[in-house]
Symmetry: C2
DNA sequence: TTGAATGCAAAGGATTTGCAGAGGC
DNA sequence: GCCTCTGCAAATCCTTTGCATTCAA
């Protein structure tokens, strides 16, 4: 399953979708006469096995090691992640100099709080923000395609916990 | 002068500040026993001569060429930009894989519309956004340090003008 | 069979670093 | 004079690319 069934207060409600990510990706491949390879299947399974944010490096560590079945090389991981973004399965954004990916398909639009101490990403949804975004765009005759809001600061846990680590430069 | 005096509808109203960027940077240097070098002066003048967004490459092109007085090497430009960010003179954010800088000192908080066609950045201010940001943070017991909102799309000029260029991946 | 996909090694672009010499204070 | 700064060259990090080989359809 692609969507965790355990209730988790940190996760937003999944959106109802007709197809599994696998089925949707198959459609995407067929529509472009691309091939359903073992590597693409392996990466897709790995990506949708857990719901979290990850970068290419983390995905590589999570995939089977070299020599194991299901192993995928670094260039292919990068290529495949780009395909998932194109296919609408993943969204990509940049944090601290590297690309971070998150589930898009079957998951609602949202934005993030980013803890500069523990680097945790906390998701939140805001209708109001969308309205505000569209109003601003309208007033500039600007046609919106997407937006990205990241609020940086210190999360609840890190405020309570050990002393705060000060960084020289914000990461966003 | 650091703040342009010509009225420009695309610029927000400058904030009243007691010191010039030069004076403020001198204070910063002295407070850290850092030195007021010709290179730092040259970069500072260049950066505050015009109000716009720029990256390290563009700044290098704008600075005097190698051999000319006021020339600054690439590593020093990078080092100096970091100091300006620390000193609160500049803000930095990442767009399309490179770091972009803009005036912070003497300039009000704002966010951006980003045209994915002509790569223009349009500034806007929204009290409402700040309120919304603080509400969201509050509800997560999150201590805000900063935020970054970029709305991507197509600007007025590019909508009217020539046909739109489609990109494979959004840049934010 | 045949074009698409993979893995390797190598390139790429932006940024950073080690270090010897230059230069503020 | 001391200690910071600079410039150079080289390294680093993340990501992409060229190309011969492998493989799905």
């Amino acid at each position: 399953m692609s969507i965790p069934s355990e209730p988790n207060p940190d996760l937003l409600e999944p959106v109802k979708v007709a197809l599994t990510p696998q089925q949707r990706f198959n459609d995407y491949l067929q529509s472009r006469s691309m091939r359903n390879t073992e590597q693409r299947r392996s990466v897709l399974d790995c990506v949708f096995k857990q719901h979290d944010h990850f970068d290419a490096e983390q995905l590589l560590e999570r995939l089977p090691a070299k020599g194991e079945p299901g192993h995928v090389s670094r260039p292919t991981v990068y290529r495949t992640l780009g395909e998932f973004v194109d296919a609408g399965l993943l969204r990509k954004f940049v944090l601290d100099g590297r690309s971070v990916y998150e589930h898009d398909y079957g998951y609602p639009q949202h934005d993030h709080l980013y803890c500069i101490k523990c680097e945790k990403l906390i998701e939140f949804q805001s209708e109001e923000l969308l309205k505000l975004r569209d109003e601003v765009a309208n007033s500039h005759q600007f046609q919106v395609r997407s937006h990205r809001l990241i609020i940086s600061g210190v999360c609840q846990d890190c405020r309570k916990g050990r002393r705060r680590v000060r960084r020289k430069v914000d990461l966003i």
